[in-house]
Symmetry: C2
Subunit: 140 residues, 2 copies
DNA sequence: CTTGACCCTGTAGTGACTACAGGGTGGATA
DNA sequence: TATCCACCCTGTAGTCACTACAGGGTCAAG
């Protein structure tokens, strides 16, 4: 009655490429499953759950190292979830920094675009803005 | 009178690691410079300018492939700067998509954090949210 | 008994660097 | 002149999270 899955089925159920499932096993995120007589990997519902967890965490932008920690923490039912909180908070802060950086970038580029007169490359403000301001001096 | 630089000087002037300068040469972004009697790379102001251009474009988030195109375009003084515009516009669109994705992510995570009751891991909403909804059915 | 979909291992590629290991060069100092 | 040290050289491998083969084996259907 305990349902089993091939690697392909597991992949389909979790939207994961077969190669990726094997990769997770190689790096120790998924346990080595038992093998069939034909040397096929045989997964059960626990594997399916664990892989689902990994994939969901990845969708939320956690690194595999963070996923590893989350998996570790998720097993410690009796512990306070402080560390979980902290990990997620760190991740949010990181995301906010990235958003901010991208917004700065976007503004710089938008300004460049606005300055473009749609003339020849020679007088293009964009190209110009990329040229470093190398002055004429022959410094020692 | 034509000033020259060692790779280290070039690196300092453009805030680039020496290894990175050599890397750019290896992938053909920077030309092979002449060598000194002791086999040291000897750079001139043109190299400095080109590397400065590359670094500035990288700061603006362009990929090395895009930088390659920009360098190519920047040499065609007589051409209209339409292609430059287009490349930058594509990049802005890409950045906007990334900002949007990150904002979505941020909201999801913030909601998770807000739901956390700061209790035990067993009843943690965050861990729970990561658990896939595997139902009890034994589907064929 | 053959086809075709699936599975296996192992290796190498992606982007943009970064980090060695193991050596050579060049200028200043003792 | 010897030695020191900062710098330079080449070549290779590591990072992250996969992805893409090559070259084979397995299994169920027709």
């Amino acid at each position: 009655m305990t349902q089993t899955y091939t690697i392909g089925e597991l992949g389909r159920l979790t939207d994961t490429k077969v190669e990726t499932v094997r990769y997770y096993e190689r790096i120790g995120l998924l346990p080595h499953p038992p093998r069939s007589s034909g040397n096929y990997r045989v997964y059960d519902r626990a594997h399916l759950g664990r892989l689902g967890f990994i994939r969901r965490a990845r969708e939320l932008g956690f690194s595999l190292e963070q996923v590893r920690e989350l998996l570790e923490l998720s097993g410690q039912d009796a512990q306070p979830c402080e560390q979980v909180d902290e990990l997620v908070q760190t991740h949010v802060t990181d995301i906010e920094r990235r958003i901010h950086d991208l917004q700065t970038l976007r503004q710089e580029l938008t300004q460049l675009l606005a300055q473009c007169q749609h003339g020849k490359v020679a007088e293009c403000r964009i190209i110009e803005a990329l040229q470093p301001h190398v002055d004429g001096q022959t410094a020692a």
